[in-house]
């Protein structure tokens, strides 16, 4: 037998002025199941709460309806009050008679009538409320950072600083990411290596941080606080514990013609290599695609010269299985392929380079030792043309990307400025659609390039680049001057758009994290939760969420770390009890619910049921993980058999409200 108490609040005169609270409480007292109904000046006050608690204890109420302000305001207050009196907090319903009634209706009779109907709906619903208990799940106090670029390193350092162990999984042989390839950083022109490599060393030396390089995440199971991850650490054919990083093998290896990806293929490396001098971990790696010994079994030079005995041609991939409480995606970006942009003659001339290649050509540790030389003939270029927005801001998106890559305006200004600074005899042209420099000291930097360094900025796009007699004929339009330009350039630099790393999409699938149409990870809320994925326990750091420069990446990395620390510092997570629940007897295992669940909260298990004549039947039924489910209810509607229901907003409860309102 239900014993429901109804408490009508005056809210001072906020409600009482346009709703006759006395009539409301009298009318609701006559509703079925209601054993007590009253009204009071301020229900949310201590005296009001005391009265509710007293009535719960005195009358043994099984449900409480409070006719007051919006549940968004005081639902939590009243639930807490009832819980203290021993009533399950989810047996409380609020009828919103302030925002939805007294404040919007001037006629007291109309307001009173509506308030009664809203009260009735709440009473009808509360009759069907079930006591719910918020579940708890433990938290594994270890974080996984996927990607070891500046975003991943900063996130890991910040998490480790708070005392939690972190693993960094990096697919390349060394951490450091794209920033290691950059020469100088805008707008201060700091040397990138000088600010990054100490951080890499910090990460390597931090006892809380474990770097798993040359490795990839293969499987992710579990949910927030309890992820179980399978990591494949690829065989590098070198024992990491023995290798001292002396580099002797990389000098003696006879296979010299391997394109050096660190220098964007502008020079060659050996089959056994250390990507660059400050690599972390500083150990050699054998490239199985080029190593003669691994391919034919004949060579073994590196093993002979290695004094540490670190070479192991029979090394196998290692599988690491580890539990984590939180996962941070920091997979970063890569420049898009220039394949579809042949009007710029990228494939026809080695003197047409991308900005990242130009970065290597300017770098003291690059293939030319920092002297700017044309890749074709090794001569000093005199006329350089920079083309911006190559593949960025393309309509339609067939050829390029619809978005702005954000960093190109600034690094192009930097390249132009550095070129003019080092080689004042050069003429530098920059072709742009718009110059976008929002950022601290960014516009000042760009203006310096124009005003102090005399870089020619031309608004307009380059139509065609044609190699001719050792020169590059550049045809372009000057929109402001209203004329066509023909420039004989020695080098053309393309500011290629950036796109998410290719590993991001399969990773997002594993994490059940959502992505936008451009394969950037989606944040839980574009304004208010920018570093969290909609999937609980998965966080986003750096350019995997959208194009970003280094300061922004570092800021976001720190923010993601703060979120991770907040999560890991808790021993248990309280789950929202208003989650979906599947009735196994009704479920036919059709997977309709699983397909619409944005969180991957639904899994299937084979369950035994008792059949006729003492037989057992095994059926596939849906199971909701209450720690992952966020309670949106998409599955409840998708379920064709009606097996799926949402606690707290069940089909029966909503129907009861509908009936009460439409009566």
């Amino acid at each position: 037998m239900q014993k429901i108490g109804v408490f009508v609040c005056w809210c001072g005169s906020n409600i009482a002025a346009t709703v006759d609270v006395e009539t409301v409480s009298d009318a609701l007292a006559r509703e079925p199941g209601v054993v007590f109904s009253t009204n009071y000046q301020y229900m949310c006050s201590q005296a009001g709460q005391d009265m509710i608690q007293e009535k719960i204890r005195e009358l043994g109420l099984t449900g409480v309806v409070i006719c007051s302000c919006s549940p968004r305001m005081h639902e939590a207050t009243f639930r807490r009050a009832c819980e203290k009196a021993g009533l399950n907090p989810y047996l409380v319903e609020i009828a919103n008679i302030r925002e939805q009634c007294s404040w919007i209706h001037k006629d007291k009779a109309v307001g009173t009538e509506k308030a009664i109907i809203l009260g009735r709906a709440a009473i009808a619903k509360v009759q069907l409320n079930a006591p719910l208990t918020a579940g708890e799940s433990p938290v594994t106090k270890r974080a996984l950072v996927i990607g070891g670029g500046i975003a991943g390193i900063q996130t890991a350092l910040d998490i480790a600083e708070a005392g939690f162990p972190v693993d960094i999984v990096e697919k390349k042989p060394t951490i450091g990411g794209k920033m290691t390839q950059i020469d100088k950083t805008f707008p201060t022109l700091d040397c990138a290596a000088c600010i990054l490599t100490p951080k890499m060393v910090d990460a390597a030396q931090n006892e809380k941080i474990n770097i798993i390089s040359y490795a990839q995440v293969e499987e992710v199971a579990g949910f927030v606080g309890n992820f179980s991850v399978k990591i494949r650490k690829r065989a590098r054919f070198v024992d990491e514990t023995k290798c001292t990083g002396c580099g002797l093998c990389t000098e003696k290896c006879p296979q010299k013609n391997v394109p050096n990806e660190f220098n964007q293929g502008l020079d060659n490396r050996r089959a056994i290599y250390i990507p660059f001098a400050q690599a972390v971990p500083k150990v050699a790696t054998i490239d199985p695609n080029y190593c003669t010994m691994l391919k034919t079994g004949k060579c073994g030079v590196c093993s002979k010269v290695c004094t540490a005995g670190a070479i192991d041609y029979r090394q196998q991939d290692e599988i690491i299985q580890q539990e984590y409480g939180a996962i941070v995606a920091a997979t970063g970006f890569e420049p898009i392929s220039m394949e579809k942009f042949d009007e710029f003659a990228y494939s026809q001339s080695p003197d047409v380079v991308t900005s990242l290649e130009f970065e290597r050509l300017m770098n003291a540790a690059g293939p030319t030792g920092g002297t700017l030389l044309r890749p074709s003939d090794g001569k000093h270029p005199h006329t350089l043309v920079f083309v911006q927005c190559v593949g960025s801001r393309c309509d339609g998106g067939e050829k390029g990307k619809p978005y702005c890559s954000k960093i190109c305006c600034m690094y192009t200004a930097k390249h132009a400025m550095l070129t003019r600074e080092k080689y004042p005899d050069t003429e530098v042209y920059v072709f742009y659609i718009d110059v976008r420099t929002p950022g601290k000291n960014f516009d000042e930097f760009y203006r310096r390039a124009v005003e102090e360094y005399g870089v020619h900025y031309v608004k307009g796009m380059v139509g065609k680049v044609a190699p001719e007699n050792g020169k590059l004929k550049v045809q372009a339009s000057d929109l402001l001057g209203g004329r066509q330009l023909h420039i004989d350039a020695d080098m053309v630099v393309l500011a290629a758009a950036i796109e998410p790393d290719r590993s991001a999409r399969p990773l997002a699938t594993m994490l059940t994290a959502s992505m936008d149409t451009n394969d950037f990870f989606t944040e839980a809320h574009p304004k208010l939760r920018p570093v969290e994925s909609p999937t609980a326990g998965v966080f986003l750091s750096g350019a995997c969420q959208g194009p970003k420069d280094i300061p922004e990446t570092v800021a976001q990395a720190g923010a993601a770390a703060a979120k991770v620390i907040g999560l890991l510092s808790r021993d248990h997570l309280t789950c929202n009890p208003c989650v979906a629940e599947s009735n196994e007897l009704m479920c036919n295992g059709c997977s309709a619910c699983e397909k619409v669940c944005p969180y991957g909260a639904i899994t299937y298990i084979d369950k035994e049921f008792r059949g006729p004549n003492r037989t057992t039947l095994v059926r596939r039924v849906a199971q909701v993980n209450p720690a992952v489910c966020q309670g949106c209810g998409a599955c409840t509607v998708a379920c064709p058999s009606g097996a799926m229901d949402l606690k707290g907003f069940s089909n029966a409860q909503i129907m009861a409200e509908v009936d009460a309102i439409c009566k």
Binding site: I117, A121, S514, E657
Partner: protein
Amino acid sequence: MQVNQEFRPTIAAFCCNWCSYAGADLAGTNRLQYPADVKIIRIPCSCRLNPLFILRAFQRGADGVILCGCHPGDCHYTTGNYYARRRMTLLFSMLDYLGIERERTRVEWVSAAEGAKFAETMNEFVSTVARLGENRRLEDLRCKSE
């Protein structure tokens, strides 16, 4: 039967908890008037709205049903309102088939900041439904209490 009195429709408004319910609260906070015929039912997300709830409302005597959710792209649960949009499109074509006037049902995106939009939408919807008059086609007369 009320014969000469002005017809007051019964309207059920399903509002998602995160955007539209907050939008309705904002309308209240700003004292923006809309007819008392609208009764709001709170649901966690627009995708929680089972089309059956709408049919049930019509069966029980509702004259109009409106669903309000977050704007596309702003759903608290990322994709819920897209599901809702598709389901409602299907339901509406079925209601067309049944001869329920298209104007009796509506989907509207109202954010938590759009109190004015909420009130305007409700004013407009109520007058539209009031013009159409009582909904008799789906109403189950056995449910009538008196």
